[in-house]
Chain length 285, copies 2
């Protein structure tokens, strides 16, 4: 399942809880577009901010709304014991795979990061995607560390930042078993990553505009990604999460507020700019 376009939807959340109706519709929208897989409760899906119960419930809704499209569920947490419980919940919900970023509070040594994956993969009955996201976890994965983790049972893919991925993919292929695919995130770099041989695009854009993202994933050498540069600039400036939150709200797919505090939706001026960019790009649904 770790190939092509993996689309990461928002999990619309306010201080009262998850808007499960809106969430089911966001996932169904991805299933309608026939993305290759759905990444539920990724960074864009706000996994780090939700309780175990909210995550288990959201995972169930995602699988039920995915119309047979395989669903990968984020199981990250600061503590290994909590990750193991979340893995069990995800598998019980019918997840086809799990996604694990090494969340940190105390900075982790490489051996601690490896130990986390060792302890978790041992217990899995579905494949795992290793999530290398420096901006959120502050773990700096060396190629060597990803290569070691890639030897563990049940590892199916590694998700690396798109910046610099081109130069890195060759080195990683030499260190990873051939069964482990390499995927990129950081939407503005995805076309370049796919052109450099990445197998998967783990995509924020795809979680809201799956048909546009599929056009890039199917023909990364085409001109679609370049045309979206005004949107990519907003992703870089505000973080893609805040931009897709504003876009989903503009499209009427989520209510306001939809981000968990302390995160805040964009202010009025920034939102008008998001809407103007969506309009100019014809990203109206």
């Amino acid at each position: 399942m770790f190939h092509g376009l993996s689309a990461f939807p928002l999990t619309p959340t306010d201080e009262h809880g998850v808007d499960t109706t809106a969430y089911a519709a966001l996932v169904a929208r991805l299933a309608d577009a026939r993305v290759d897989s759905i990444g539920a409760l990724g960074s864009t899906g706000g996994y780090a901010y939700l309780t175990r119960e909210q995550r288990a419930h959201a995972a169930k809704i995602a699988v039920e709304s995915a119309d047979g499209v395989p669903v990968m569920v984020g199981i990250g947490a600061l503590r290994t014991a909590h990750v193991l419980a979340l893995a069990e919940d995800a598998q019980n919900a019918g997840a086809s795979a799990v996604l694990l970023a090494p969340m940190t509070y105390q900075p982790l040594t490489d051996d601690e990061v490896f130990g986390l994956y060792e302890d978790v993969t041992r217990e899995l009955s579905v494949p795992l995607c290793v999530y290398d996201n420096l901006a959120t976890t502050h773990v700096r994965f060396s190629d060597e560390l990803l290569g070691r983790i890639g030897q563990l049972p049940n590892v199916g893919s590694v998700k690396i930042p798109g910046e610099g991925a081109g130069a890195r993919i060759g080195a990683l292929r030499a260190l990873l078993p051939s069964s482990v695919t390499v995927g990129v995130s950081g939407d503005w770099t995805a076309a370049r990553g796919l052109n450099s041989g990445a197998d998967v695009w783990y995509s924020v854009l795809g979680g809201l505009f799956p048909r546009t993202a599929l056009a890039i994933a199917r023909e990364p050498a085409g001109e679609v990604s370049g045309r979206l540069e005004p949107l990519w600039a907003l992703f870089r400036r505000h973080g893609s999460l805040r931009v897709v939150s504003a876009a989903a709200s503009h499209l009427g797919l989520v209510r306001e507020p939809n981000l968990p505090r302390p995160l805040r939706e964009l202010g009025a001026v920034d939102r008008r700019e998001v809407v103007a960019v969506l309009d100019s790009l014809g990203l109206d649904g």
Copy 2:
């Protein structure tokens, strides 16, 4: 209460739960030494890895074991709603103050960090210490942001990294109300910070060797801190948490394991070095 030596004990934890007996004894040890305050469930106290229930129970034990020494309780969490619940639990446990670091997964804007403190301080009935810890939260507090937060109700102190504190304290004093004290952490820089006019030392050493830390806090221009340089070198190399974990275990104050996975206790070679340094410094209890 935000002056002198604030001592931060470990919360000994394994995969089965918190060792509450050992924890009560660690806190009582600080009370016996008459530290100025006790920082329960700080970074050294592993707050980020524990459940709400475990934290509420530990806070209660800390207050009960503190023999009247004021206890500050860490209430950090990724989500504002969870911080508010933890603040309520801490106050119900009898905390004299709370400590709040802006934990992050998604990088936060300055307005989001300010919003967190605004939402939390509004609900408090005890004073709050603002916890600036770049290494764990990755939030880079400008002096201006600390100054803004310092104007909020119930803010009693700011805890800043000791590196560079000397140059920063003057600027902060000009931005903070006079009722807000400035404290330093990063034990190897504490004496310098106190000599530069810091009001408090938020201390990891003090959580295990309170009498030695008191000697430094009472006479920061003395030679004690300099003599401890071999220990400070280990703090910098391994992180102070892993070193005090090994030291507490060597003293028979905690069992093994005592850190929550994925964190790992130091390996045999590093532990022998910790013990050798403790012995050479006469830090034997």
